[in-house]
Structure formats: C-alpha cells, structure tokens
Symmetry: C2
Subunit: 205 residues, 2 copies
C-alpha cells in the first residue's frame, strides 16, 4: 500500500479507485465491489459518500472532462496566429494527456455511449465549442496565400487526429510497435514538436 493512501481522505480514495476502475472497465463493466476493493473500504461506504453508481461515475467523469475541454476551446478561439495556435493546441493537449492517460479513452467511451447527454454535460445547452473561428482563420490564410490551398475541415481533422489518436489507441500501438511504457511516453513527447513540424511542412508555401 502507498503511504499516500493512508493520508488520503476516504472520499479521495474512493474517487481515485473509481477513476481507475471506470477507466479500465467502463461504466457498465465496472463493479461497485471492485471499486470498494481498490479503495480498500466497504462497499456501503461508496453509497455513503456518493448516493449511487451513476452519481459516482458522473463525479469522476465531469471532474476530469470539465477541467480540460474548456481549455481546448479557448485555444481554438484565441487570437493567436495560425501556426502558434496549432502548436499550442498540440502541446497542451499532449501534456494534459500524458498526465491523465486514461482521459481520452474515458471521454471517447462516454461520447459513444450517449453523445447528446455527453455534450450537454460538458458544455451545457447553448455553449457548444466553436471550431468555426479556427476554421475561418485557416480559410483566411489560404485566401491570403500564406499557406497552401487546403480544406480547413480536413486540416482540422488532421491536427486533432494526429494529436489524439495515439492516446486512444495506446494498447494497439505499444503492442504492434513493441514499445514499453517509457518508450511510448518518449514518442508522445516527441510528437509535441513532430506534429506541428509535419503540418508546417505540409501546408507552408
């Protein structure tokens, strides 16, 4: 047992355990007993602190998602020049994911389970993320002739795909490329520079 675990409050222990179990097994696969075991407490305590499974899940889920998604949004709609914006997005996204490697899968899982509900819980009813500003910015650069002619939508998809996918597909990638934890992490760190450079090479004139 960690020293940490003893200092943690019961509530914190539960949340940490829930995060772990929900992430690996998903909302449906997770068993309340598993979470209790992982936290080293009695199952009834889960219900004492969090009324039911759904509440516990939502707490864990929103805690993570809400602190991260708005950040992305603010980058995309900021006033930075195009390349700096891309660079910043890639950097911050990868950094965040390296610290919370379970987040992407977690989010993807939820978003697939119930897209409407998800979007609503993250951004509220009328507060959708607006990549439109980013798309317009790309479009402007194309018309100005600063970058090659490219569809903003596709460029946008290229960027998010290259940034996010390796995290979601981690088990496949580590297995296929025969990487250990450390090597995988190093590659992800390299990608912070690698992706912006690749994009730059592809669209600079």
């Amino acid at each position: 047992m960690d020293k940490k675990k003893k200092q943690q409050s019961t509530e914190e222990k539960i949340l940490a355990a829930a995060r772990k179990v929900f992430t690996t097994k998903g909302m449906d696969g997770a068993r309340m007993q598993d979470i209790a075991d992982e936290a080293g407490i009695n199952k009834a305590l889960l219900h004492y602190y969090f009324r039911d499974k759904g509440k516990l899940f939502e707490t864990v889920f929103l805690e993570e998602a809400q602190k991260f998604f708005p950040k992305i949004n603010s980058i995309f709609s900021s006033e930075l020049p195009l390349f700096e914006k891309i660079e910043k997005f890639v950097h911050e996204y990868i950094d965040e994911m390296l610290e919370n490697p379970y987040l992407p899968w977690f989010v993807m899982n939820e978003i697939n389970r119930d897209p409407e509900q998800f979007m609503y819980r993250i951004w509220g009813k009328e507060n959708l993320p607006q990549p439109s500003k980013f798309l317009e910015q790309m479009d402007k650069e194309v018309r100005k002739g600063t970058i090659k002619k490219i569809s903003p939508v596709h460029l946008f998809l290229h960027i998010v795909s290259m940034t996010i996918f390796p995290f979601v597909a981690k088990p496949m990638i580590t297995r296929n490329l025969q990487l250990d934890e450390l090597q995988f992490r190093q590659i992800l760190e390299q990608r912070r520079k690698e992706i912006p450079r690749f994009i730059f090479d592809a669209i600079k004139k």
Copy 2:
C-alpha cells in the same frame, strides 16, 4: 420490419442483431434480451444457436476483425513503392470503414478491454503484424534522400491516426462540426485523396 429480415435465417438475424447491440452498448452493456428483441425472437433461441453470451460475442467479433486485419497487414508488408503503399492503405481502410462504420469502435473497445486476448485472437500466438517492413522502407527512402528526414515511427503514426481517428471519433466530430450523416460520409470519402496528398506535401523534397 425489413423485407430482408423475413428472408434471413434465424441465425443471420441473431448475428445482425448481436452486431448492432454489441457495437452500440459494448460487450458488458449489451443485454441478451436486447439482442433477442432486436432479432425478434425468444431469448432462449440465442442460447440454442450460440452457447452463451461470450460465444456469441466472439463470433460476431472475430467475423469482423479477422476478415479485415490481415488485409492491412498484407498491404504494409507488400512490395509496393512507399507512396503507392500509403495511398493503398488509406484507400482500403477508409473504404472498409465506410461499409462497416461500427468496426473501428468495436475493435478499439475490445483492444482496450483485454489487449493480450485480443491480439491473440486476431493474429494467433506468433503471427503478429509486422509494420517493421514498412518502417524499414520509410527509413530507406529517407537515407536515399527521396523524402525529407522524418522518423518512420512518427510518419507511421501520422498515417494511421489521420485515417482511423475520424471513424472512432465520429460522434464528437459530427456534433462539433455540425455535420449530418451524409456530409460526414462525404468528408470521409474526400479524405481518401486528402490524406495521401497531405502526407506527400509534408515529406516530398
């Protein structure tokens, strides 16, 4: 009800229903009763045709995965020149996914649930896919000076990310970019040409 459903054998109805339910709800979230309802039959029939839930799931799963994964593998280890190979991979992958849009999520889900088991079931014990040949090929081109200096691993990740991610993240993308089914499909079709061109622009000398 479809006309088709009446012509389908019960076994086919079950498989179609199982595919649908397993794909949307996942192995754990899926209920045998849901599958029976979807197929319009009694629950006991499921057990008559497929011994238990696990067996049914595996049947559906392997049926899809086994027919597709070997194809990818054969492209990567073929003798085609680099750019043709990339083009072919992107083309075939997107085409396949457009026909079976549920497959990527299905596969990712399983691979995350139990990586070892998954790889084993798809490729058998000693028959891992070998992207190494593809990596070497890229490396060779770099040293020959035909393309820009780039890490083969990263280029590999770029390619698969841009190709696969949009399928996995479909609900997020359609929601954020406000696309309907048709528009999403059209964009995916465009990407067959868009991705190879983007890569070409990025690494050609």
